[in-house]
Symmetry: C2
Subunit: 423 residues, 2 copies
């Protein structure tokens, strides 16, 4: 940069798909970037359920943020918790008392799972958003089998071998299919007193179908595929209680020691920080240029916003959408710096994918719908392609090869707690 003027300061909060893409796409622009995240790693969330089910190791789907940006001298990575935004002073406030000045701010702060007013369910039904969430779920699943092996009471043993997944979107479907594979194919020979193939995997969906975002025929295919894996799918009744000993849905109690929440998310506190309008899930309502109303210098992208796509439906909370938004924001910042302006953000839906167990998938590209083994191969290749770096691609390919060829899952580790850990 040979500009004598002070470079424009861009602060980006969150190094998920949206924040990282914004940073990448600002390469070469006359800006100074501060990228803040409370984690030191970027996480490939679409495969997080595979860590939770012992299929992949944590480091296979996470990269140090600094490492990804090591050659971008104008980018400073900050490992810190943001506590708010002072929009008048144009500063991002940090929990440790510090603050970072910005000329342009990009909020890419993501979402957490939400319990719709039942936060008290969280200890019993953990969700899946961070690496720790995933290793927690993994520990609970593996400990449940261990405890079942030693349990002599048939009812308690049955409850230990019942795995309830709440919510049949992609994450719920992927979790249910993979837990079924784990119980049916990976674990049976390892235990002496239980038949892990008799484990119940119950997928509960308050709506009327699985993968509601997909076309009807793919939903139906996913449902029959799940059932052929042995997953019990329940429709049309919401869960009305989660507790240590099971769930209640449709007025009936289902005894279960392992419950996983895949039923919904709420956005980060970004709307609160700005006192800006948000929907019920706390998602910021942004303008057509992805700025926050009344704050032309504050953009927001990814799971923390709600915006409608060209079909009139909300843009889905998926990685490709966050990346398109990040790219748009970067281009807008560059255009503004050279005195230009961009047309409104236009979302292009590239497709929806979901894996069902280790050999099947469904894909909706819009112009073509695929299902079964061929869809699984495209799903697998696409996911390996989107991983960062040759090393992780090789490593994940190796892990999947072992799952396919030998049903061996590399990461069946119970950590952060010995055998005394309650499930």
């Amino acid at each position: 940069m040979n500009t004598a003027a002070k470079p424009h300061r861009v602060v980006i909060v969150g190094a998920g798909f949206g924040g990282l893409e914004t940073t990448y796409r600002l390469a070469g622009a006359p800006v100074e970037i501060t990228l803040i995240d409370r984690r030191n790693h970027h996480l490939f969330q679409p495969l997080l359920y595979q860590v939770a089910t012992a299929s992949l190791a944590t480091s296979e789907i996470a990269w140090p943020i600094r490492y990804l940006l090591r050659d971008r001298k104008e980018v400073t990575t900050l490992f810190a918790n943001v506590s708010g935004v002072d929009a008048a002073e144009k500063r991002v406030l940090l929990e440790d008392g510090g603050s970072i000045p910005y000329d342009t701010l990009v909020l890419a702060t993501g979402a957490r799972h939400a319990y719709f007013g039942h936060d008290e369910w969280e200890p019993f039904a953990p969700g899946l958003k961070t690496l720790e969430d995933a290793t927690t779920v993994r520990r609970r699943i593996l400990v449940a089998f261990e405890r079942a092996e030693r349990e002599t009471d048939p009812e308690r043993r049955a409850a230990l071998l019942t795995f309830v997944i709440i919510g049949a979107g992609p994450t719920g479907v992927e979790l249910a299919g993979t837990i079924a594979d784990l119980a049916n194919d990976t674990l049976p020979r390892d235990f002496r007193h239980i038949d892990t193939r008799k484990a119940r995997v119950v997928l509960i969906e308050a709506g009327q179908r699985v993968l509601a975002g997909f076309p009807d025929d793919l939903s139906a295919y996913a449902l029959s595929s799940l059932r052929s894996l042995g997953v019990e799918v329940m429709f049309g009744e919401p869960v009305t209680e989660c507790a240590a000993d099971g769930v209640v849905y449709g007025g009936k109690k289902l005894e279960a020691r392992t419950i996983i929440w895949a039923a919904g998310v709420r956005a980060s506190r970004a709307a609160e920080w700005l006192n800006a309008p948000a929907d019920r899930a706390y998602r910021l309502q942004v303008g057509p240029d992805l700025t926050v109303p009344g704050h032309p210098d504050i953009f927001a992208v990814g799971d923390t916003i709600i915006i409608n796509g060209p079909d009139g439906n909300p843009v889905p909370g998926i990685a490709p959408a966050a990346k398109q938004e990040g790219r748009y924001v970067a281009e807008t910042i560059k255009a503004r710096l050279s005195g230009g302006k961009l047309p409104p953000f236009h979302y292009k839906h590239a497709g929806s994918l979901a894996q069902i167990g280790k050999r099947l998938a469904v894909i909706d590209f819009g112009w073509i719908k695929l299902r079964g083994a061929i869809a699984w191969w495209i799903w697998g290749i696409a996911h390996i392609y989107f991983l960062i770096g040759l090393r992780n691609r090789l490593s994940v390919a190796l892990s999947w090869l072992w799952i396919h060829a030998r049903d061996q899952r590399a990461s069946r580790l119970i950590t952060q707690g010995s055998s005394k850990v309650a499930s």
Copy 2:
């Protein structure tokens, strides 16, 4: 087994190198085995320092115990905490109140790090024995660099960039060399405000040389190699205090925020359980047939015992020794079952190896001594050979290739705590 008699019940406590080897070598014997461990995984401890320094992922050096024994129908794996032994009733007592009867008992319960009467040092100077220890040390090292990046006070920044390792045995030397590599080669380009190459790595040894178990010339080579990596090695003064802000040794305070303990271990509580004679490090004194005096049906192996080798020195606490003992115990059990008897245990020392940074090692095979790059290659091949299974061998080889070719360490993850975690 076609024997009509009730099979002989062998209970093995601990699935480390000794316990697992005993179990392997009992294959085909007319026994029924219960293998108890409070972890669900066997850990390849010789490479644990590589997890602590972000070089390897946890799952690359750990295997589910059940998986390793899935085809041994006569082996039951129990994920439980042992609380004691009732030698009169011949039962192993479990913490949850249960108990397991045995005809022959094998104690392979290992060791923990020991602070020589200063247990209050543990929070400030964690040791390295479990996967959680390793991810804790990894988090502290990585968080120290993160905090240094944001620290403006030069003294506090220097303390954050000072890493003290106490004890210059193989683990201490390997940790010091790898942390130096991390600071010198992996991290420099990632940070903007600190020069990670200026980090101080201080190795403190109360004795007179590093790798005291090795011949003098290899010790001297290790010392000069460490120094050429930039490690400061201090001799002859013990550490007299560990605290949150540093250590005191030789009456001087060294300000440091990261301290790692590699100075000593104490055996498990096995001697206490049996009220049996032990040395100062709680190691059980066993007879020449590895049975506990007064308990001919109780064997003990590995780090939990003290026994002299043919050279009159204690058998070292290393994996090959534990495996030789495990094999001997298995053979003795088999011999006894067919009415026979074995000569006393005879330890054969195969060699000592230690890595010094990413390209050098020292090896003492007795008949030949090796050092430098050639020793590193033998060290690497030997360790890959001793890993279990093709998948982990490929995976570790891949990780090491990336470290060598690109200085990229795959597992630089700060987990179990966000940026607020104190170091």
